[in-house]
Symmetry: C2
Subunit: 387 residues, 2 copies
């Protein structure tokens, strides 16, 4: 089990004691053919996975869409089996009687295109690791660059297929927040409420460069082979560095240090040997390496690019785009976030202007407070959804 999962498990155990019932969920598959991407390409067949919690009401007016984060997937709540060690990542706020109350709402969550966890049996996605039916080989870099808007449009196609014409709300953390904001801009008449958790309305120059750090080690790996590694050794070394960077940057130093209470700067091995590592480094990189089993390196590159190309509304003028939003909006950045820092959400909130709500999640996790401390905003979230 990787580090994040262990941490999530600890949090989950604390939270779950308050909720006796396990919500059992299952994965479904959605297919859309001849999908047109924002950059003008066509993907013959897109398959994605999705889950739903609660019951769709008769006039299909009780739908809440959950959009997932960078390394996340559609498993936002519940368990596939009672014996699962962990529920979905936002189980603290999604379920019967919870902030996003599945006794009232029909909650839908889907896997994005180019989902990181291409080899997770519970994820269904389409991306560079997918077999191209025309060649019977993985797409690799022949897969088109896709954007957050494309993620939104696949979700739109899924909702269309279900006859859903209104979203009571769209709610997502981090990259999920990008999708949520873009939903409110792209389909203003369809989105009644939008909640951005630890999010931003635009990838600025700094974020583009910060994200490039996650791509570079993969491209630097000799096994990467311009993305054609599917028949040989995978670029595990590069992917490990990438995942270690992602993990550390999502954590505030306070929680990182608290997770390594026995760290000793004068540890003998690294003091004597330049090749020896500190236990904290083995901890971070060891967890990252374990995660490479389920994650595809090319998918990380495509996710990086989807985030780099993000600007809500996909035009030249973010301010005008956000003025088109008709949804009630709530921004919930995390005070200690060092990745998508609160000023980013603050800016989007201010550009929307009158009526937009803003509050900061307090916590010691940093960016991950959007997952692990979301429970602290349960009442506010619940009230917002009733407005």
């Amino acid at each position: 089990m990787n580090m994040i999962k262990i941490l999530l498990l600890s949090v989950s155990l604390l939270v779950s004691s308050a909720f006796a019932e396990t919500m059992l969920v299952n994965k479904q598959q959605f297919t859309v053919n001849n999908f047109k991407t924002f950059n003008g390409s066509t993907i013959d067949t897109v398959n994605i996975g999705w889950e739903a919690y609660g019951q769709l009401n008769d006039d299909k007016s009780n739908v809440i869409l959950i959009t997932h984060y960078f390394t996340g997937n559609s498993h936002a709540a519940g368990k596939y089996a009672e014996t699962d060690p962990l529920p979905g990542y936002w189980d603290a706020i999604i379920g019967p009687g919870k902030a996003i109350d599945t006794d009232k709402y029909y909650v839908i969550s889907s896997d994005t295109l180019v989902n990181a966890s291409a080899y997770d049996p519970n994820v269904i996605t389409t991306g560079p690791a997918t077999i191209n039916p025309r060649t019977q080989k993985p797409f690799g870099l022949t897969f088109p660059v896709v954007t957050i808007r494309d993620f939104v449009n696949v979700q739109k196609a899924l909702l269309d297929s279900l006859g859903i014409k209104k979203l009571h709300a769209v709610v997502g953390p981090s990259m999920g927040s990008m999708q949520a904001i873009d939903w409110a801009v792209a389909y203003p008449d369809m989105v009644e409420r939008m909640v951005s958790v630890i999010g931003t309305a635009q990838a600025d120059a700094w974020l583009v460069a910060a994200l490039e750090k996650w791509a570079y080690p993969i491209k630097q790996d000799p096994n990467w082979q311009q993305g054609n590694y599917y028949d040989g050794d995978k670029p595990i070394t590069g992917l490990t560095q990438s995942l270690a960077l992602i993990t550390q940057e999502a954590m505030h130093p306070a929680i990182f240090n608290a997770s390594n209470p026995n760290h000793n700067p004068l540890e003998k091995a690294p003091l004597m040997d330049i090749n020896a590592n500190y236990p904290v480094v083995d901890w971070l990189y060891g967890a990252a390496e374990k995660r490479t089993k389920l994650i595809d390196a090319n998918h990380i590159l495509y996710l990086v690019r989807a985030n780099q190309t993000f600007i809500a509304g996909y035009g030249n003028d973010l301010a005008s785009a956000l003025q088109n939003v008709k949804a009630k909006t709530l921004f919930l950045p995390a005070s200690n976030d060092l990745l998508l820092y609160p000023a980013m959400a603050q800016k989007a909130h201010e550009l929307i202007g009158e009526g937009s709500q803003y509050d900061e999640i307090e916590g010691k996790w940093g960016h991950l407070d959007g997952i692990f401390s979301i429970q602290s905003k349960a009442n506010e979230l619940s009230a917002f959804l009733e407005q």
Copy 2:
């Protein structure tokens, strides 16, 4: 010219208009034989470069030692020639009539062991890139792991050779602050004043992992060859990534974005081609690649380790170590620093306790405010040195 130098030049031009006179300086070499390192090794011959500004008084009581930052060197102030585009990095505060007034003080600045810029003709250092006289080949990884304490002890030997028994002050930014703090702990009777700028008294677990990010890409580069690359291709790809990370992490997003005002997330090339880069990425990595001409990859690995092993006093108990400090102390972290964030300096300040002074440098640069915004604390620094 690399990006940092361009930025420094801009700042320097603004500042220098207030000072008509150019202080001309020259580099000297200091040699110490049979140098014993903290980890118990011996280096037969250590050569380092040093500069001095001002005049040593008769009783040698007016010495201020300046200790440099990670990618810095002994060129803290002045110019080698009138035609140099840039003066030393702290020229804004070191010189005649400036905060560290060379009309009063004799200011010494030396290159560290394993200095990053092994190929800079103005740097003299000893490290893995140095020819081992016993083998007539570069030391490579046979060079012992060295620590901040070793940097301090080379400086101590230099001062001993000059007959200097007291330091009016030791002042340094970032890694230079580590040296300054350790000076005050290691030689409490010798150090009268200590100024830590953007510093910390200990590498915590988070910092150790953050620093590892700078080492990993070098080790990942196939040209690295366990440090034996001196006869072949150098690990430029890995070193480039390392220097790009260092540059970005030293800059706050605000200044990073201000430096790239024309960034467009919908730039055509990266939207169409996963291999195409944004101009901001070319800017960051292009500048990093240019810097690889002067910088040795193994030296970066050794600097990373010197920082990772740092705990002032080099014992198990930082609190006790800092209680031994007799110097007057002043801590000047930068409010927006995301690398050695203010809480680190705050902790050291509090552990020293009564009499220690603390103030934050305000600025938009982040960590680099310790260099580029130091002028804003000139009066405070000057007053502290007179106390």
